[in-house]
Symmetry: C2
């Protein structure tokens, strides 16, 4: 079993130790741990990179800080010279959801798939080196299957095993329908690992069932089984729910530097270390130091968050932009001043307008009723002065600054 | 709903009545009954024959009296001018059982499928007119499916519905594996009905789940749904278990006239009427008369069985052979004499041989131990004389008659 681990010389053993320590850092579960060591050892002995797979849903390219957890892990693999296999699951995306009952889920066109793949490509490029990444579309092999090949694949799986998956289990127990084709999504994903001879597959802990499937399919086809690295899901800005776009508690990787900085400053103190470990690009040692300093009180949580926010903006943009958004943040929140840089909008509507219509007209809030609430709560300022009366009329003049909440500022230009 | 039934004239209504009465006679369940009437009415109005489907397992062409139940029903459909669709399920037969765990079930070769289809053809030909039958192989359409077509088909089915099928349900509850591909057998069979636009499907009551599936698939593809006729299973010679080759309680349609006659005479009296109804070619009225006569004691069960046995030999062979085997039976069992006709075997082994080796040498019993038992029980005779001592030596001379049990006779020829 430990065939390659046992033939390493001293230098190679140190190399194995280093890689194993870094690659398993922050990982929730490795299945199985010993096989990860053996995979690394084999790669060292044979001087061959490991093939590290990440599967992507072609329908939802909204990349946020939650994805950074897995991207940072991929980056570490890259730094050791391993090869990343990104797989766009376009096969199911192209055929759509065939129940025909959920018309909301239509088949994607080739252009949509391509567009979504490009979005991943750009946004992932902020963290990993996309030039060294293999990009695959699983329609390449899945679309060639005939019925007998599908049946062969299906014969590797038991119904009981499928019904162990949490969501299937719950739906079955509560008499909600599971359509037979749904059982094929994990199977197809597992086949992808076989098709690409993956050594490692990464996934969030919520993907455990699916990513483990690859091992089963590879075993059926007598291929060396992949090792699965399950990465923790990070809580969102609320500190409670898993970060997700639909919950609105997320930091998008393509948000502006000021937004990323400000949102990071808003996380609960309890999440600071976890965010450092999983989303920043600080080394293990640096994170460890920050952790001790927070524990013994030599580092204030607010300062730790500044450091975290800076590192995230640097990761997604550059050191310069990180410095600048740190400066802006200090100006606004430290000294209660306006930021130096803010968006300018050319105002072309009436110059005498109610505060509600002004806020809504600038799209600073989605509806008039929300604008009214915000005004009544004292969250709206004109040139730093609170406006509390929703019926107050504002004379819009050139250079006037409208502020909503803590972080939204707009300067109006009025053409003479 | 009753669109066609409601537009029949008087003559047509009588025709509908006649067809409906004959076609539903002896059927355990019609799903749904009203639709059968409508199908017949439509066929009468449009002067189009109904398409009547029967699916056949390509691996097991052992046709016995149990199949006659469905063959007789097909024959009635033929007599009303409807069209029979026999489907050889060669697709699954050709790909074999893909679990790879049951090596006993290998994929059939094209030749084997063809051979088995021919066997059906010959043996069914004893009951129905094979020249007017459509013979289909389901590989024709199923082998053209790609993965997305399979998924579409799968999306018409829920997992819960599948697990309602008795054997799946029991296996799931008792933690025995069900492999995912097994769910496809009923689905594929259902698709066959769609592919052939079947109006009617016949099946034994044990096939209820599978044959009902056709309705579901046709509905998904917006085709008029077939009506299902579930035919009762007949008990075998033991009067208890379902007739089947594996249980040894069957009458094979290619057995000799004497064997068919003799075996029929051995059924329990309680089955006489059921066998008449389901397996003989007697008319409804004739069966009804026999039933009353048995009930009021004017017909002795033994005489009823002679009539039944005669009708079955006539069905599978001819009136002449039926008469002859009735004569043989009367000779042997009525007057305890030897039959006039019996097989002759040219004896080429030792002419001085133990009774055990003689019986085994003639293949009258499968093993020496069974031969020994039969001798000890007084079931073996040489020239009508019982031989009870298993070690007794027999001098084989020309014309000697060996009898095993009640019905097996062989006359030996010894070349001088």
């Amino acid at each position: 079993m430990m065939k390659f681990v046992n033939q390493l010389n001293n230098n190679q053993q140190m190399e194995l130790q280093t890689q194993f320590e870094v690659l398993s850092y922050g990982v929730e579960r490795i299945v199985p741990k010993e096989e990860l060591k053996e995979k690394i050892a084999k790669s060292i002995v044979k001087k061959q990179p490991l093939k590290v797979k990440l599967g992507l849903d072609p329908t939802a390219p909204d990349v946020h800080l939650g994805h950074t957890v897995v991207l940072n892990k991929l980056k570490q693999f890259q730094q050791f010279g391993h090869r990343i296999q990104l797989i766009i699951g376009d096969f199911t995306g192209r055929i759509g959801d065939p129940t025909g009952k959920d018309t909301a889920r239509k088949a994607l066109t080739d252009e949509e798939v391509q567009h979504n793949a490009n979005t991943y490509y750009e946004q992932f490029g902020k963290v990993i080196n996309m030039e060294k990444v293999e990009l695959h579309y699983n329609s390449k092999w899945l679309s060639t299957f005939d019925f007998s090949k599908v049946l062969e694949l299906a014969s590797t799986v038991t119904v009981a095993r499928m019904l162990e998956r949490n969501d299937f289990h719950n739906r079955y127990k509560s008499h909600k329908p599971i359509y037979l084709h749904e059982f094929f999504y994990p199977v197809m994903q597992g086949y992808d690992s076989y098709a690409l001879q993956s050594d490692i597959e990464l996934g969030g802990t919520d993907q455990e069932f699916n990513v483990l499937f690859g091992r089963q399919i590879q075993e059926h086809y007598e291929q060396e089984k992949q090792v699965v690295l399950l990465l923790p899901l990070i809580e969102g800005l609320d500190g409670v729910e898993k970060m997700s776009k639909s919950k609105g508690n997320y930091i998008g990787v393509d948000e502006s530097p000021n937004d990323i900085f400000g949102k990071t400053m808003s996380i609960p103190d309890g999440l600071i270390v976890k965010y450092f470990e999983l989303t920043s690009n600080l080394s293990i040692e640096e994170v460890s130091t920050i952790k001790s300093m927070l524990e013994n009180g030599t580092l204030h949580p607010k300062d730790a968050k500044v450091r975290l926010a800076h590192s995230l903006v640097e990761l997604f943009y550059s050191k310069e932009e990180a410095d600048q958004s740190q400066g802006n943040f200090a100006n606004v929140f430290g000294k209660n001043k306006m930021p130096e840089n803010m968006p300018e909008v050319i105002w072309e509507l009436e110059t005498s307008i109610s505060i509600i219509d002004l806020v809504k007209g600038l799209n600073l809030l989605p509806s008039k009723s929300e604008a009214r609430k915000m005004v009544q709560n004292g969250g709206v300022r004109i040139n730093q002065e609170k406006v509390m009366d929703p019926s107050q009329m504002i004379e819009v003049v050139d250079g006037i600054v409208v502020q909503v909440g803590k972080r939204k500022f707009v300067r109006l230009k009025v053409n003479p």
